[in-house]
């Protein structure tokens, strides 16, 4: 097995004290970020990204991805103990997790959450290990039209499959594409949309946007809601862990189903949030006793957590293999790759073997270490939540400012971050989703380049996107996904009509 050899190489890259300690730092920061309401995976990764600017890419990605794993684990702690989802994808975990904590089974619920998170990620990482190299080598044959078609597919699936209002998703995405285009045009070298402003020559950096949109706006929202934290204490003993693990085989169907849902939604940009709800709802529907869900059933914790983690992890698959992120956080990690001077895409597997396999190996190791860490340190992190928000809010603001400034050593970026913070606050309140904006901001110039290169190659003929079976299939699929809500509405109506006419 070639993949296993390469994975072994990855582990060898990891096994240095420096990388391992960065991993621990990343996990700790990540759990911290996940536990704090008002900070989440994407914000945490975005704020801490500047820390890694001076590191070598492998250490940097290991630390950042560990922040991500940590945040995924941490979200469960607040959902179960405080009934406050630290992350949107932990909302479904509160349905049964918090009732369990109220019944005095907080430790069981937490163990279940952590374990199922671990299982979900493990399945997804295995998927990445065996699928990603294949997809990447297949994608090596892609030319500009194929790449544009894949980008187009990503954009369309956000619009078609997203649960927000369609026009709002389009607004968010188009804004991202325009912001990505500001500055120097990469093909002709011409300046555009700068209005003679020297600061805009460099363009709008996506990190500034992310830190403002996610970090600052979250602080504003959390202040507005005035969180009063009242939670349950928990300490996990080995006995509890053993009891929960002993029962795991009983729930294998739920675990497997949620993993599958998670992987699927992670690769297509449905995201961890949708996955966790879907995992929960399906577990409920297929249960022999659906009414007991919501009263503190351990299965109600297993299902959403497994799905959320499987999806959060598998979102990295398209990022690694094609250079297309499957989630907001993956988009930020992708931005990180570019900052470190790597070119995301299928060539990564050829040109930077150590980097890619180091990252994949770190997913295995990070999840094992993360599981042990959260199981042992729950009381400490639960105590973090008792720190008043008045102390945490300014600290987060300072961290955001440091992050924004460090990108280009420019004060202008701190102002820009504030502007994006206000924009993010308003957008969140009126329901304009932010993930499409982030995605478009990261992919915008690559998508435009791919489009223009294919147009140049084909002499301006749009038919190039249907010129061979591969690109034609992707483009058609994209258009179907774009109009998916319409198509499914029409088909379900005609199905009904058929049934009425026997």
């Amino acid at each position: 097995m070639e993949a296993l050899d390469l994975l072994f190489l990855g582990f060898k890259v990891l096994m240095t004290w420096k990388t391992l300690s960065l991993m621990m730092v990343g996990l700790t920061l990540g759990i911290f970020v996940g536990v704090l309401p008002g900070l989440g995976g994407p914000n945490g990764v975005a704020i801490l990204l500047p820390l890694t600017f001076t590191m070598d890419p492998t250490s940097a990605i290991v630390m950042l991805s560990c922040i991500y794993w940590g945040a995924l684990f941490g979200g469960a702690i607040t959902s179960i103990l405080f009934n406050i989802p630290g992350e949107a994808w932990s909302v479904a975990t509160t349905f049964d997790g918090y009732p369990m904590a109220q019944k005095g089974q907080a430790a069981q619920a937490l163990t279940a959450a952590f374990t199922s998170s671990f299982i979900g990620s493990l399945v997804a990482v295995m998927l990445i290990t065996f699928l990603a190299p294949g997809i990447a080598s297949f994608a090596l044959r892609f030319g500009p039209p194929e790449f544009f078609a894949v980008y187009f597919l990503t954009f369309c699936s956000f619009v078609g499959l997203g649960r927000e209002d369609k026009h709002k998703t389009i607004i968010s995405m188009a804004l991202g594409l325009i912001l990505a285009g500001i500055g120097m045009d990469t093909v002709s070298g011409q300046l555009r949309m700068t209005f003679g402003n020297a600061e805009l020559l460099r363009g709008v950096n996506f990190l500034v946007a992310v830190i403002g949109l996610f970090g600052i706006s979250e602080i504003l929202l959390t202040m507005e809601e005035q969180l009063a934290l009242r939670g349950h204490a928990a300490r996990i003993s080995l006995k509890v862990v053993w009891e929960v693990w002993k029962d795991l085989p009983k729930y294998w169907v739920t675990l497997l189903r949620s993993s599958a849902i998670g992987c699927w939604l992670g690769i297509t940009p449905g995201g961890a949030i949708a996955a966790s709800f879907m995992g929960y709802n399906l577990a409920k529907r297929f249960s022999k006793d659906p009414n007991s869900f919501g009263t503190g059933r351990i299965e109600g914790v297993f299902a959403p957590e497994t799905a959320a983690h499987a999806s959060g992890t598998s979102a990295l698959l398209p990022m690694l293999a094609l250079g297309i992120p499957g989630s907001g956080t993956a988009a930020i990690l992708l931005g990180g790759l570019m900052v470190w001077g790597l070119n995301p895409g299928p060539l990564l597997f050829v040109e930077h073997k150590e980097f890619v396999w180091g990252l994949i190996a770190s997913m295995y190791l990070g999840n094992v270490v993360g599981l042990i860490m959260v199981l042992t340190t729950v009381p400490f992190f639960a105590a973090v939540l008792r720190v008043p928000f008045a102390a945490i809010a300014p600290m987060i603001v300072v961290s955001c400012a440091i992050g924004a400034f460090a990108i280009q050593n420019a004060m202008f970026y701190i102002w820009l971050m504030l502007l994006f913070g206000v924009v993010g606050y308003v957008f969140k309140k009126i329901g304009i989703p932010m993930a499409p904006l982030t995605l478009a901001l990261v992919l915008g110039s690559r998508a435009e380049d791919a489009f223009r290169l294919s147009m140049i190659g084909a002499g301006g003929d749009m038919g190039v996107f249907w010129s061979n079976s591969l690109v034609g299939t992707i483009t058609t699929l994209a258009i179907i996904l774009l109009f998916w809500p319409l198509i499914s509405a029409v088909t379900s109506r005609s199905m009904k009509a058929l049934r009425l006419r026997p």
Binding site: L51, A174, L175, R192, M193, A390, V397, M411, L418, F451
Partner: protein, 170 residues
Amino acid sequence: MTASQGEQGDRPLIDHRPVETITLGVILAFALLMAWDNWRTGIRWESTGPQAGYFPFYVSMILACACIYGIAGEVIRWKKPAGQFVSRQQFRRVLQVFIPTLLFVPVTQWLGLYVASFALIAGFMYWIGRIKPWISILTGYLFSMIMFVVFEIAFDVIMPKGPLERLFGY
């Protein structure tokens, strides 16, 4: 649990619908501005392919259409209640964190980031959080020191510095 509902003497500041309409209007204006600038740059085809303004021009057009659609939807449903956007109390709390943050930026420029973050954290904890002064000052001091050690010394990330850091030779 959130305790945002049922606060004493709290009145809505503004409703959801006007905010959404205005926001979409602002985005629409932005889209038209960008479309105009791109049109000026050139949106036609040259022998070497599309001009620099081509792609962003059409994206601006899509953006503008989506905004018009959204605004129209809001106007059609104008009479139907859509709930409040933010209440007075809530907005007051948002300003409580936003105004200090706004002040934090010029202070950073003037006194350096570390002094400014000390002031922001200690001040916020004391005045907004009503936390004991010594705890506020100690927390602000420790946090700024840790940040200084982590960024300036350990990771070589250069932050804006002011007279105080110069005094210590940084």
